[in-house]
C-alpha cells in the first residue's frame, strides 16, 4: 500500500493475496452513505486540524491546492465485503498537513460536512498512510463519493475514509465515531477482520 504501489498490477482473483479475508473484488464503485450528500462549493470548503490545546490550523481550498500534491495507487476495502483493487487518487498527504502541528494526542476524530464522524489513531494518519483526496481516476471527486474532498485511509476499512471531509480533531482518548459507537470496530483493520466491536 502506498504511493504508486498497486495501481497497475491489474485485476486479481478472489482469494488472491490482494484480498483481505471475507472480501470479494468488485469492478464498480458502490455509493454507500449514511445520509444525503452535502453540497460544498470549493470557495466555502475548509480543512481544519485542531489540537488538544484548542489551537486550530486551517486551509482554504486554494491554500490546500497549493500544497504538494501526490498520486496514490491503492486497493480499498469496504466493511460490507467489497474490495476495489488498483484505484488511483490524487491529493495531499496528512504528513504534509500535520507538519506544523504540535500535539501529544494519540487519537483523532475526523469530522465531515453533514455531521459524520470517525475515529482514528494518529499513527494511522501519518507516515504515508493517509491523504485528503480530491481526484479519483483522473477526474474531480464526484459529490456522491465525497467530493470536493475525502479522507483516504486505504489500509483501514473504507468507512474510516470519511467523505466530505472538513477536518481532524486531535483527542487524548479514542472516542467512537458514527459507526464505531453503534457496533463497528474502533480500529477497522481489514487484514485482521476488525469489522465489529
Amino acid at each position: 500500500m502506498g504511493i504508486i504501489s498497486s495501481g497497475f498490477r491489474g485485476r486479481r482473483q478472489a482469494g488472491s493475496p490482494a484480498l483481505p479475508p471475507g472480501q470479494y473484488e468488485t469492478a464498480s464503485f458502490p455509493v454507500l452513505t449514511a445520509g444525503p450528500a452535502p453540497d460544498i462549493p470549493t470557495e466555502d470548503w475548509e480543512f481544519f486540524i485542531t489540537t488538544e490545546e484548542g489551537r486550530s490550523h486551517t486551509w482554504s481550498w486554494d491554500a490546500f491546492m497549493a500544497l504538494p500534491q501526490v498520486d496514490i495507487g491503492t486497493d480499498i476495502h469496504c466493511v460490507t465485503s467489497w474490495s476495489k483493487l488498483g484505484t488511483s487518487w490524487r491529493g495531499v498527504s496528512l504528513d504534509t498537513l500535520f507538519e506544523d502541528v504540535q500535539t501529544t494526542s494519540r487519537f483523532t476524530t475526523a469530522h465531515s460536512y453533514g455531521g459524520y464522524t470517525t475515529n482514528l489513531p494518529l499513527r494511522d494518519l501519518l507516515d504515508g498512510k493517509a491523504w485528503i483526496a480530491w481526484e479519483y481516476d483522473g477526474k474531480a471527486l464526484e459529490r456522491a463519493h465525497g467530493g470536493p474532498a475525502r479522507l483516504l485511509v486505504p489500509h483501514l476499512y473504507f468507512w474510516k475514509s470519511a467523505k466530505w471531509i472538513n477536518g481532524v480533531e486531535l483527542t487524548q482518548e479514542d472516542i467512537p465515531g458514527f459507526w464505531e459507537s453503534n457496533g463497528y470496530h474502533l480500529h477497522g483493520d481489514p487484514w485482521r477482520e476488525e469489522r465489529y466491536s
Partner: protein, 115 residues
C-alpha cells in the same frame, strides 16, 4: 438487513432528482427509502409495527409519522433520518452476534395500541 417486505419507494423520490452531481452516475441519486424500509427489521426485533407510530425528532422537534422518515439502508447499517432537518432519528446495525439499536435521535415514539 432482513425482513423487509414493505412497499418502500426507491430513491427515485430523491428531493433533488435533477441534480446529476449527487449521483455516482446521472439519474442515479443517493439511494434512500421511506420509513417502511425500517419496519421489517424493527418488527423482527420487537414485534412492533412502527409505520404508523408518531415520532418526535430530538434535533428539530418535528412530530411526524415514522413512515415519512428517510431511510439510508445501503451502508454498513440502517440510518433513519428526519425529513424536516435530516438529523439521525435511529440507527440499526446487525452484526453476526448482535443488533445495535440507537434511538437517541427520537425524544419519543407514540405507538397505537389498536391491534
Amino acid at each position: 438487513m432482513t425482513g423487509n417486505d414493505s412497499s418502500a419507494s426507491p430513491g427515485a423520490e430523491d428531493p433533488r432528482p435533477g441534480d446529476p452531481d449527487i449521483a455516482g452516475t446521472a439519474g442515479n441519486p443517493i439511494p434512500h427509502l421511506d420509513g417502511n424500509a425500517a419496519a421489517g427489521p424493527l418488527w423482527e426485533l420487537f414485534r412492533l409495527d412502527v409505520i404508523a407510530a408518531i415520532g418526535r425528532c430530538k434535533h428539530c422537534g418535528a412530530v411526524r409519522a415514522f413512515g415519512e422518515a428517510s431511510v439510508y439502508a445501503d451502508g454498513p447499517g440502517m440510518v433513519v433520518r428526519c425529513t424536516s432537518c435530516e438529523g439521525v432519528l435511529l440507527r440499526l446495525v446487525e452484526t453476526p452476534t448482535s443488533f445495535w439499536l440507537d434511538v437517541s435521535g427520537l425524544s419519543y415514539l407514540q405507538i397505537d395500541r389498536e391491534s
